[in-house]
Amino acid sequence: MTTLDKFSLMPVSSPVSLPVSRQTKLMAKRRLLQMHYEAGVGHIGGNLSSLDALLVLLNEFVTPGDELILSKGHSAGALYVALWSCGRLTEESLKSFHQDATLLAGHPPAGRIDGIPFATGSLGHGTSLAAGIALGARFQSTGNQVFCVTSDGEWQEGSTWEALIFACHHKLKNLKIFVDHNELQGFGDTTSVASMAPLAARIEGFNAHVSEIDGHDLEALRTAANLECDTVHVIIMNTVKGSGVSFMENQMKWHYLPLNDDQYEAAMLELEAP
């Protein structure tokens, strides 16, 4: 019996219907870990910190015509799993993650998958792209909403602030920016590398409407996504890198490392429903 066969004895549930529940979260986390484990790739920590928001947005808020931009493209796995959870990606496609001839690359691909409007991965692009789509929707009176999920380290990119200035100036109330504020970046924590604290206050200084929430609280995510503002709404999601897997939580190394066999087994056991 191979390792893969062994863990296939703990099957991942099939995609769910609305709304996102605690069981949905667990199922999605398990499928995310399985996908990364089978592909032997990392970036797991930031995937787990943003997964809950992506699940809620894609299952409950992104309706036809709306768009979601994952600006933190290194959380592509979470995006794929969230799209799978609402039936927009197949189980078969998830199995191709990170393989040759796949469309499910390590960062969201360009123009080939419904639900992924733009290829991202280089940080600091997504907020501007989302602002452009939001402005286009306004010009054409479509009423469509645009959701953008950024990292927190990404706010060190000057272009992200350019985008914020633009979005606030144009009062893009159909744009909601969710910041995955897990406080860890590539080679340190955000306050020790290049602090922007207090991030919420600084963003608010540009006249955005800012909310701070627990980014793993489903109800808080819903409330934030539902809130109607007269300008762009920036939601600072206080999150935990590696959320839900005790030995991954708040550990920078899980920005990079793939799971070995023992770690995978331990993580999956933690994510079993009680």
């Binding site: 360009a110 123009g111 409007p117 733009f118 290829a119 991202t120 280089s122 600091g124 692009h125 501007s128 792209l129 989302a130 602002a131 452009g132 789509i133 939001a134 402005l135 286009g136 929707a137 010009f139 054409q140 479509t142 000057g158 272009s159 350019e162 985008a163 200035i165 633009f166 100036h169």
Partner: protein, 302 residues
Amino acid sequence: MRNQFAEAIVERSANHDMVFLTGDLGFMALESVQEALGSRFVNAGVAEQNMISVAAGLSYTGLDVWAYSIAPFCYARPFEQIRNDIALHNLPVTLVGNGGGYGYGVMGPTHHAIEDYGVLCTLPNMKVCVPVFDEDLGGAVQWIKSDKSPSYLRLGRGEKPDGYTPPAFAPWRQLCAGQGPVIVAVGPLAGGYLDRVQNLPEHERPNLWAACVLPIKRALPPRVFVEQLGASTKLIVAEEHVQTGGFGADLLMWLTSEHIGVQDFVHMFAQSHSYDAYGSQTYLRQKSGLDAQTLMQHLTDT
């Protein structure tokens, strides 16, 4: 060319769902566009990276999107945004760079654009237009929007002999004919050269061509041009662009692929981003050997 460009945009805006972005530039040039487009004329401020990605987002929604700035601010500063957000997704955004080549003259090399189209032509799906004459802008705008791919429009200063009526816009145009060498000049240079060579005796007069589209695969040289090459001993290519990645290199690659030989090839190009002193576009062309006097020497050199 800015005024003619503005006229062409205003005309197009009547029939197209257009958005025009500017990076806080256009005084005394784009007011008519602003008036015609109203809220669809967006001053994106001094934030070119954002402007380009916003342009991509707007284009994604189906709008006809133009993004304007001084040339280097339009392609060099936001290069990654052009690559990732526009070119990679084959979005039909048009970047408009004013002051191509040494157009900003004594303003200095931070404002020059002598590697613009070479850099941009490395990107997927990108096409480039370098109008020759002020009268080209209507045709140039039509050509750029003739297919749904990203594009770069390099604006300069139209140059032509007094009283000359340019032929209608086309990617390749022969401006004068004779028995001398074959010259291809990219963009406005061609008009300036015409003034100098059109009255030469026929046996000395070159076959002067104006080219304005890149990469060359977008508009291959016409058969008569190739026939002239076969009858000539010299091909001169002139462009206000660095040697690497320019029109000359692209043309030579194509000629080689077609097994068309050239006995003597002369490439006149922008020699440097900076010289020992600053000066006007005319001064910098002279320093680069792009002036008409240097062209005349190449015509007679054996």
